[in-house]
């Protein structure tokens, strides 16, 4: 099994820069926008199936979102 370590690895960490913070803010904004716009039709379909007692098949879900 391959071994993974938290990124960055111990001893390879570098000081955070303004650009790092800006990149992170853009990523956070993407997570939020993805939740709102990509998630809206999914939530709508889910609530409808929940009301009618239908099944939402996970295997047929759309492509990955930016991870939070």
């Amino acid at each position: 099994m391959r071994t993974v370590s938290a990124k960055p690895r111990k001893g390879q960490e570098r000081a955070r820069s303004f650009l790092d913070d800006l990149t992170l803010l853009i990523y956070i904004a993407k997570v939020g926008l993805h939740y709102v716009f990509v998630g809206r039709p999914i939530r709508k379909k889910f609530r409808e199936l929940q009301r009618t007692g239908g099944k939402f098949y996970v295997d047929e879900a759309p492509s990955p979102r930016p991870r939070g």
Binding site: K10, E13, R14, V38, G53, F56, Y57, A61, G68
Partner: protein, 324 residues
């Protein structure tokens, strides 16, 4: 007055797989009598591809918007989780005094529970590395009032509010340790993929594992969340596991078993990777958990979670044991 589950909680599940992934119970090692390190099943931080990832993604989409706002806040808080230590190292001649200093600081930042233990391989997921000497475990209590209508948007938001708070506390603490010239890294996200937080907290004396698969503390019941800081800062390990009488009650109490809408809680201990312990059926729990923004019914119906009940309950159970 005891906690009362609302009458209109959702029943049944909507999410389903046409071709279910490998059983989460099998991945977790249910029924295994020999020790092995834990493997990831759900909640991914992108370091691995997990069998239940597709459901995890849907969990994120149907999650309460309040929870999502706090998730975004936590991502921001955790920007300080790692970094290089300062070039000049503060000498530590008295690790016990340093431990006290760290604990006082964690509490002043907002931690309700703080403990220190030595890092052990069994705390780390299989295939992962956390090359640090010590773990500082942090617990923060949830607001019981906001959890009273579980599962709902308010309770989901409260869970993630507390994780965001832990993210802030752990990150700040790790940053301050690095300023002393010692390596440190914060883990303040339930998705943080390297560590098993419950065994660490047990070793730090926070409490015992309950029938509902969550930690039970004497003072906070299960109404709290966990995070940690790993570090090489010389510390003294003075905390140890505690016996507050959890098993005495859990063997007789069925509050969580009866309340679980999907019958996911085993009434008896199970063998899991070489240890006989309380275990929640992953394959039954996870659909409901995902559909209800993290559910949390079992931890709120637990008698230990009732505010102020824990110390009295513990004292009563332990005295009964002595008398018996």
């Amino acid at each position: 007055m005891g906690f009362r589950l609302r009458d209109d909680i959702p029943r049944g599940t909507t999410f389903a797989y046409r071709n279910p992934p490998r059983s989460g119970n099998e991945i977790n090692g249910l029924g295994e009598r020999t020790f092995r390190r834990a493997a990831h099943v759900f909640h991914n931080d992108s370091t691995d591809s997990l069998p239940w990832d597709a459901l995890d993604r849907l969990f994120s989409y149907v999650n309460s918007w309040k929870a999502v706002l706090y998730i975004m806040k936590n991502i921001w808080n955790l920007r300080k989780s790692t970094g290089p230590p300062a070039p000049v190292q503060r000498a530590v001649s008295d690790p016990a005094a340093m431990t006290r200093e760290v604990k006082v600081r964690a509490r002043s930042l907002g931690a309700d529970l703080v403990g220190v233990t030595t890092m052990k391989p069994e705390y780390v997921y299989a295939g992962h590395e956390v090359p640090y000497r010590y773990v500082i475990s942090i617990g923060v209590q949830m607001n019981r009032e906001r959890m009273k209508n579980v599962p709902d948007d308010t309770s989901a938001g409260e869970v993630m509010r507390v994780y965001a708070r832990i993210g802030e506390i752990a990150s700040t603490l790790s940053e301050e340790i690095r300023e002393m010239g010692w390596p440190a890294r914060a883990y303040g996200n339930p998705n943080s993929g390297d560590l098993l937080h419950i065994p660490i907290a047990v070793e730090c004396g926070f409490g015992e594992l309950g029938k509902h698969g969550s930690l039970i503390s004497r003072d906070h019941g299960s109404n709290f969340r966990l995070g940690c800081v790993v570090t090489d800062l010389p510390l003294a390990v003075e905390d140890a596991p505690v016996d507050i009488g959890v098993d005495d009650l859990c063997t007789r109490c069925t509050a969580c078993v009866r309340a679980c809408p999907v019958d996911a809680i085993h009434d008896r201990k199970q063998w899991v990777r070489g240890t006989e312990k309380w275990y929640v059926d992953f394959d039954k729990c996870i659909y409901y958990f995902s559909e209800t923004s993290g559910c949390a019914i079992c931890i709120e119906v637990c008698p230990w979670s009732e505010e102020g009940a824990g110390p009295w309950l513990s004292e009563k159970l332990l005295s009964k044991r002595v008398a018996g």
